[in-house]
């Protein structure tokens, strides 16, 4: 069944545009049974299928950045998330290799496919973050990298002859790894998140959560949440971007109960109860990565990949990118215009 109502009767050679506010019902619309009578059914809802086919054809881009001190298990977690050897683990600094004096940015791209959906996944690693003795301003190379990606996109968008599909290298999601000290956030953590939560979606995760008991975990999470709130750090999903009641309730639950996710990563499989599962074997038992009783990895994975991936991209595009663009076009930003030499400074293996 469908209803039609004349909304705007405009009579002029040039029609006037009346931008209408997004109408959204508070309760999700349940699909009403399609009237199979030929006279009644038009076929407007086939547009969903048409759109789905088109998006499957073009494929998706997703860029995820991992930030945290070395040894917190970043590469392992990314490998666990995407069930493949996405990052090469750095097994400690060899004596021949020098410890990098500054934070490096390493972006590696992969093509993965699942169920007919092709995705270009780029994992951006930040070795050297927080590893020096003096870590002042070590977030600056990261902030610069993120802004450079926005700049690249802006340049493409502003061209006269534009590409049909602008390659999207903007960072959609930044996983920030918190050390499981059990006490509180470090000053470096706070500084980083304060600066970067304004330009990118930050998802804080508590790394190596298998070093804490359940009580310690809950307390630590509460303390971290409190500290983040006190410092005015808005991590993803940000309160101000909740679109409607449905989103708000869902996101509130995540914000106030689940985040930051306490995760354990592993790419080794073990036999438990007859099943092969990913886990960590210790003398006192096997920690199952995907078991919700053991750690919150499954929550993180569902959150980032299965439910909010598209939303991450949209918030990046509609909000963070637009903010950057508005600043840039207004007064040349307050940001220095990106020149060719700065683009060579960071290493990117693509």
């Amino acid at each position: 069944m469908f209803k039609g109502s004349a909304d705007n009767k405009i009579e002029a050679a040039m029609s006037e545009l009346v931008p209408e506010p997004r109408q959204k019902p508070a309760v999700p619309m349940k699909p009403v049974g399609i009237n199979s009578n030929l006279l009644g059914y038009i076929g407007i809802d086939t547009i969903i299928e048409q759109m789905r086919k088109k998006t499957m054809k073009t494929g998706f881009d997703f860029n995820i950045m991992v930030v945290g001190q070395s040894g917190l298990g970043k590469s392992t977690l990314v490998n666990t998330l995407f069930k493949s050897q996405v990052s090469r683990k750095s097994s400690g600094w060899n004596r021949e290799e020098k410890i990098p004096k500054t934070v490096e940015i390493k972006a590696i791209g992969h093509v993965i496919e699942e169920g007919g959906v092709k995705m270009k996944l780029t994992v951006i690693d930040t070795p050297g973050f927080g590893d020096q003795i003096n870590n002042e301003n070590c977030w600056e190379p990261i902030e610069k990298y993120i802004n450079e990606q926005y700049e690249k996109f802006l340049k493409e968008e502003v061209n006269i002859a534009r590409k049909k599909r602008i390659p999207d290298t903007r960072v959609h999601c930044c996983l920030y790894f918190i050390s499981p000290t059990g006490h509180s956030l470090r000053p470096l953590d706070l500084e980083f998140m304060k600066h970067l939560s304004k330009v990118v979606n930050i998802i804080p995760v508590i790394a190596k959560a298998d070093t804490m008991t359940l009580e310690e975990k809950t307390e630590f999470k509460q303390r971290v949440r409190k500290e983040l709130e006190v410092n005015g750090i808005e991590f993803y999903p940000q309160k101000e971007f909740d679109e409607d009641l449905e989103d708000k309730t869902e996101n509130d639950k995540i914000r106030q109960e689940s985040m930051p996710f306490a995760v354990v990563g592993s790419d080794k499989e073990y036999q438990v109860n007859g099943k092969r599962i990913l886990g960590r074997k210790t003398p006192w038992g096997v920690i199952e990565v995907e078991n919700l009783n053991h750690c919150e990895f499954a929550l993180l994975r569902d959150f980032v990949i299965r439910t909010h991936l598209q939303d991450l991209k949209e918030v990046t595009h509609n909000i963070h990118y637009e903010t950057y663009r508005a600043k840039r076009l207004n007064d040349n930003g307050g940001l220095p215009p990106v020149t060719a030499e700065t683009e060579e400074n960071h290493e990117s293996n693509l």
Binding site: K3, M14, G33, K118
Partner: protein
Amino acid sequence: MASSEVARQLQNDNCRPLSLSGHVGFDSLPDQLVNKSVNQGFCFNILCIGETGIGKSTLIDTLFNTSFDDRVSTHFQPNVRLRAQTYELQESNVRLKLTIVNTVGFGDQINKEDSYQPIVDYIDAQFEAYLQEELKIKRSLYNYHDTRIHVCLYFISPTGHSLKTLDLLTMKNLDSKVNIIPVIAKADTISKTELQKFKIKLMSELVSNGVQIYQFPTDDETISKINATMNGHLPFAVVGSMEEMKIGNKMVKARQYPWGIVQVENENHCDFVKLREMLICTNMEDLREQTHARHYELYRRCKLEEMGFRDTGPENKPVSLQETYEAKRHEFFGELQRKEEEMRQMFVQRVKEKEAILKEAERELQAKFEHLKRLHQEERMKLEEKRKLLEDDMIAFNKRKAATELLQAQAFASTPSVSLKKDKDRKNFM
């Protein structure tokens, strides 16, 4: 399976293809995307061009199975106008904002030279509005009500002969701006054989005149076959009707004639079902995409080049629109500054002039004042002299009076009969 377009682009980026050892879950991505779009709702804008009375409104009503507008237009419009109406339709959980734009008075004028111009202007205006929004600094494209025309249904008169000149002219001016789907209106006035010949004639005329009508896309394997067949049936011969008749045991839309009943949804009778299939069920998304990716980009490119922006600078080095934009802004500000200076100069000038005038006036006044003062002084002096003379006169007169009286008194003294009175007088006098 997804096409090779993605694979090619990814190959170019030197990305390693990776195999997954388990279910990750991002195959729900298209669903996430579609859900977001469904929440936002869809826009679809149809432009109907055709002579008055050719059946545009009826066809749209039949296509969407609603009575949209009851107004019938007269034939006596002085020029071509466009009337746009927006409706909200909903089917299952899909909300569609449908805008129907009708040409009012098309083909009615005696002189039809300018008939197509309002249409072109309207389409350009919608592109312009979108471009303006896109160029804004603070913009909100994701909830922008898109009014760009996605498809143009061009109604051809069922003469059976060929395209009218007006049709050719209009279509030629519109084919690079909008997706054109030509339809033969009132197809129940042509017989089947005539229709075949008519269709062939029409298509050959369009091709020979270089008119690019919309071709249904054939790159997706699932729909390429049906699209290709449909491409061969263009232009669709359609019949529209909202009246229902009972045929067999169903109510169908039909037109009743003394010699029979024309069923709208019967594929043997007309191509209405084909049009609905192609327009709505199969290619609506492609129409929207073509409008955005091809027609709008072309408009944008032309408009920006017209405004003086270029992608490459004088030495063929790539100049970003950004820099040109900034340069223009500087220029603009420079202009503003210059104008401001100019105005300031003018103001100062005027003030000076006014001051000079006032000073003059002041001087004149002063001079006058002095002059008057002098006159006054002179008068005074004159008066003083006169007074002095008068006083002198008075004194002289008094002296003479005294002298005369003295003489008179002496004259009386010689005559003693003068009484003592006189003595008294004399005493008094002396």
